[in-house]
């Protein structure tokens, strides 16, 4: 039923403009049955299968997604069984593989109609137009027929010359936050969401754990202030209310994988509220759900990861950390409290210089630290015994997506035979797959790269020079062969076991 409802919503959004049926793009919010692997099985009854016998299913060769809600799960299963029977009949000798197919759980083989997220299709003008229309539609849904003076959810425009390799990504300027284009007070967007969006876009709240927790707290406030309008169900209306907020936050700064998973969880919880539940009861239930999510997935997970990680820290270790990862800092502080003797080398990089925050916190605890920039890595690595890295997300093909520079550290550490340990909570695991840092990334404000030394700023007028571009990447992906171990709250696993964890997690849900 949930599957059908989601399909219906998507159908309403896309309207008649959805034409590409052959593409299999990635969707922002895949339905609860995930695809852990990229099996090449076609959608049930989508591609024409060369079956000589008259097939019992009645599908057209390439049905539009609108047909999907018409079939229920039982029907799909029947179709698949029938198709497998005919397959077996067609290839008579030795096709034991089809027998095995029936044993595989439905979830893994059910492919999803995936849609590429908008923020990696900036170079396609049709997609940008579609986003603008979507934003208008979302705000129209809230203010029926009211005269709006200004854009309630404005579309943020790109800034500066974009390097050609990254023309498919957004590049925003920090000096032009989205909130400048909003009318105050905003009637469509809740004020705590506006504040959150501003904090994201200015970099005040940064780091994937911090962002997720801030998001969840803001949503709690939204739920507290929410009242169900008459003739509406809380489970459906609240989800619709959240949609413009999410679009707004996405415009302020593209959502992180952890935020995406948190939003998925909230939406699921809201949709699961039974319709006969009273409003107050429903709201308290949701608030406790969110609190439990934060407690379980972030706080307790951090404790579990610390426990595992401290086993790996021995006396006399020299540990290298990069940038500021709240989880790695937590681990180091706890290890220090358990009186392990070690010293830390903090590696930092321009332009964010997040390592200074990590350095400050570690020095406050009394841990002896060394500070270097990332260009001094080859100089400092011979002293290092272990490298601890944090992650922004772990992708389904085993790649680690983290702050830009992490892959470099892993590479050089591997050359010097220093073990690399990545610490990551399971709620950051993501079903996306990526092999390079180009297709899906984030471009930060290019002006950050400018530096004034001795009163002179070399790149001051970079906008005037047409052939000069500044590139400020935020993330990069580290291949799994550079990573020796991933420490999660479920235990210590190799990098390639991520899809297994994803499957286990989804079966639980």
């Amino acid at each position: 039923k949930k599957h059908q409802k989601k399909q219906k919503e998507r159908k309403n959004e896309k309207g008649p403009s959805e034409t590409e049926k052959d593409k299999t793009p990635v969707s922002l919010l895949p339905p609860p049955q995930p695809v852990a692997t990229q099996k090449a099985l076609p959608a049930p009854a989508s591609a024409p299968i060369p079956v000589p016998a008259s097939a019992p299913f009645h599908s057209s060769p390439a049905p539009s997604p609108a047909d999907k809600p018409a079939k229920s799960k039982a029907e799909l299963k029947a179709e698949r069984r029938a198709r497998q029977e005919t397959d077996r009949a067609a290839k008579q000798p030795g096709s034991s593989s089809s027998g095995i197919k029936t044993k595989v759980p439905l979830s893994e083989l059910n492919p999803v109609v995936k849609r590429l997220p908008e923020h990696v299709q900036v170079d396609d003008p049709a997609v940008v137009k579609r986003l603008a229309k979507k934003l208008e539609r979302q705000q129209k849904g809230q203010n029926l027929g009211r005269n709006l003076e200004r854009n309630q959810i404005p579309l943020r425009s790109d800034y500066g010359y974009k390097v050609s390799l990254f023309s498919h990504l957004h590049q925003y300027s920090r000096k032009a936050p989205l909130t400048q284009l909003l009318s105050i007070p905003s009637t469509v967007i809740h004020p705590s969401i506006v504040r959150l969006g501003l904090q994201y876009s200015q970099g005040i709240v940064a780091g994937s754990n911090a962002r997720s927790v801030a998001l969840l707290h803001a949503f709690k406030q939204v739920i507290r202030d929410y009242t169900t309008p008459p003739n509406e169900e809380l489970s459906r209306d609240l989800v619709n209310k959240l949609k413009p907020y999410i679009s707004f936050l996405n415009q302020c700064r593209p959502l992180s994988a952890s935020m995406g998973n948190a939003i998925k969880y909230i939406k699921k919880e809201i949709s699961n509220i039974p319709s006969q539940c009273k409003e107050e009861e429903a709201k308290t239930k949701l608030l406790t759900c969110i609190d439990r999510y934060i407690e379980e997935k972030i706080v307790l997970a951090a404790k579990a990861i610390s426990k595992y990680a401290i086993e790996k820290i021995s006396d006399g270790d020299v540990i290298l950390v990069y940038g500021y990862s709240s989880l790695v800092n937590n681990i180091l502080c706890e290890a220090f409290e358990k009186s392990r003797k070690f010293r830390v080398i903090v590696v930092d990089s321009r332009p964010r210089l997040e390592g200074r925050e990590a350095l400050r916190r570690l020095v406050q605890r009394g841990i002896s630290c060394t500070y270097v920039l990332i260009s001094a890595l080859s100089y400092i690595l011979p002293e290092v015994s272990k490298v601890f890295l944090g992650a922004h997300a772990l992708l389904a093909n085993g790649y680690v997506m983290s702050r830009v520079g992490t892959s470099q550290i892993a590479l050089v550490a591997r050359t010097y035979n220093v073990p690399v340990l990545v610490c990551c909570e399971t709620y950051k695991f993501c079903e996306r797959v990526q092999t390079d840092s180009f297709v899906s990334n984030e471009l930060d404000d290019p002006d950050d790269l400018m530096v004034t030394r001795k009163g002179k700023t070399q790149l001051e007028n970079w906008q005037d020079v047409s052939s000069l571009g500044l590139l400020n990447l935020v993330y990069d992906v580290t291949p799994p062969d550079f990573v020796d171990l991933v420490i999660t709250d479920l235990g210590m696993i190799p990098c390639t076991s991520v899809p297994v964890v994803l499957r286990v997690k989804n079966l639980d849900q």
């Binding site: 332009p351 350095l359 270097v372 990332i374 890595l377």
Partner: protein, 351 residues
């Protein structure tokens, strides 16, 4: 007495040069760039040859060796000074041998053949006095100076052989040689350059502005993004401070990471270095002075409780390097030891 005047004038100049050397290392002083430094050193050595009092080649070599030791002690991180001193010593040996009339082959370096066929040990004392030795040496030094003047152009002339159109080239920091190389290629070919800014001094910014002024498509990236963009790079072309005798490099901080990333993606690593950077020294590390560190990290109030490391140079082993482009052409790193033996005499390796 004119001789005494000349001598005081000479010592003054030497002291002035030593002071300049002490003040500026790594291109931050008045003598910018190793090319400048090599030229200045050679001018000074020519002046010493012309004005100092010496009677035989041995005396001259002693004088030059002493001055050379003082100059390298003033600024140990600048190896070009020592290289030029060794070149001039080799010139003196050659001219002496030529004046003596013995064939040039006896002055060549050790070879297995020589070891096996050497009769008695020939002790060269360089005590004989030749009238025209001074003129010959000065003429040879002038030739050396012309060679120094033309190095950048010679390297830049080879650019079109190595860069094709629509390439993406990565470079690190700022190198005058590489800048000339790329600008020369840009006259005929269209390509894209990615410059890593090379913190903390961010010399890459200067390089990028210089390149973009002649119309080359340039992108500036942070050091941290080097591995991330390396998969789209076709070639890495960098300069270096010194080329070591084994074919390795003593290059600016961060070059080793670039070399490793290039090796991982099987991208060729090309070094543009003129021959005067070739040095028989071993790799020694060198760190920034405290003043420079404070200027780089001004906001760090807890600096006193923290160790901060700021190395200036990196060692890059020869296995990571694909090609050296110098003013005499392209060479593999495995051939560098041979080139070095042609430039310097083995006894001069240690001044």
């Amino acid at each position: 007495m004119p001789g005494a005047d000349k001598e005081t004038d000479l010592t003054e100049r030497i002291e002035a040069f030593l002071a300049d050397l002490k003040r500026g290392g790594s291109g931050t002083g008045p003598l910018r760039g190793s090319g400048e430094m090599a030229r200045e050193t050679t001018y000074l050595l020519r002046r010493i040859t012309a004005q100092a009092r010496w009677s035989s080649a041995g005396d001259l070599m002693e004088i030059i060796r002493n001055e050379g030791r003082r100059m390298t002690a003033a600024q140990p991180s600048e190896t070009t000074v020592g290289n030029m001193v060794r070149r001039v010593l080799k010139i003196i040996r050659e001219e002496y041998a030529r004046s003596r009339g013995s064939s040039e082959e006896t002055e060549q370096q050790e070879s297995l053949h020589k070891l096996l066929t050497a009769g008695e040990l020939s002790e060269e004392t360089f005590r004989e006095h030749f009238v025209h030795l001074k003129a010959n040496v000065i003429e040879a030094i002038n030739e050396l100076l012309t060679e120094l003047d033309g190095t950048t152009d010679n390297i830049a002339m080879q650019a079109l052989e190595h860069i094709h159109s629509n390439e993406v080239i990565m470079t690190v920091g700022r190198s005058r040689t590489v800048e000339a190389f790329l600008k020369d290629a840009a006259r005929k070919r269209k390509f894209h350059v990615i410059v890593a800014e090379c913190a903390p001094f961010c010399q890459g910014h200067e390089m990028a502005t210089g390149l973009s002024k002649v119309g080359i498509e340039t992108t500036v990236i942070a050091d941290a993004a080097i591995f991330a963009v390396m998969s789209r790079v076709n070639k890495v072309i960098i300069g270096t401070q010194t080329v070591l005798a084994n074919g390795g490099l003593r290059a600016v901080n961060g070059t080793h990471s670039v070399a490793l990333a290039a090796r991982h993606h099987s991208t060729p690593l090309i070094i543009c270095a003129p021959m005067f950077k070739l040095s028989p020294q071993v790799f020694t590390t060198c760190s920034l002075s405290l003043n420079d560190v404070n200027s780089c990290f001004p906001v760090l109030k807890i600096l006193s409780k923290v160790n901060v490391h700021c190395p200036v140079f990196d060692y890059v082993p020869p296995e990571l390097i694909t090609l050296f482009i110098s003013n005499i052409g392209g060479n593999a790193p495995s051939y560098i030891y041979r080139l070095m033996s042609e430039l310097y005499h083995p006894e001069d390796h240690k001044l």
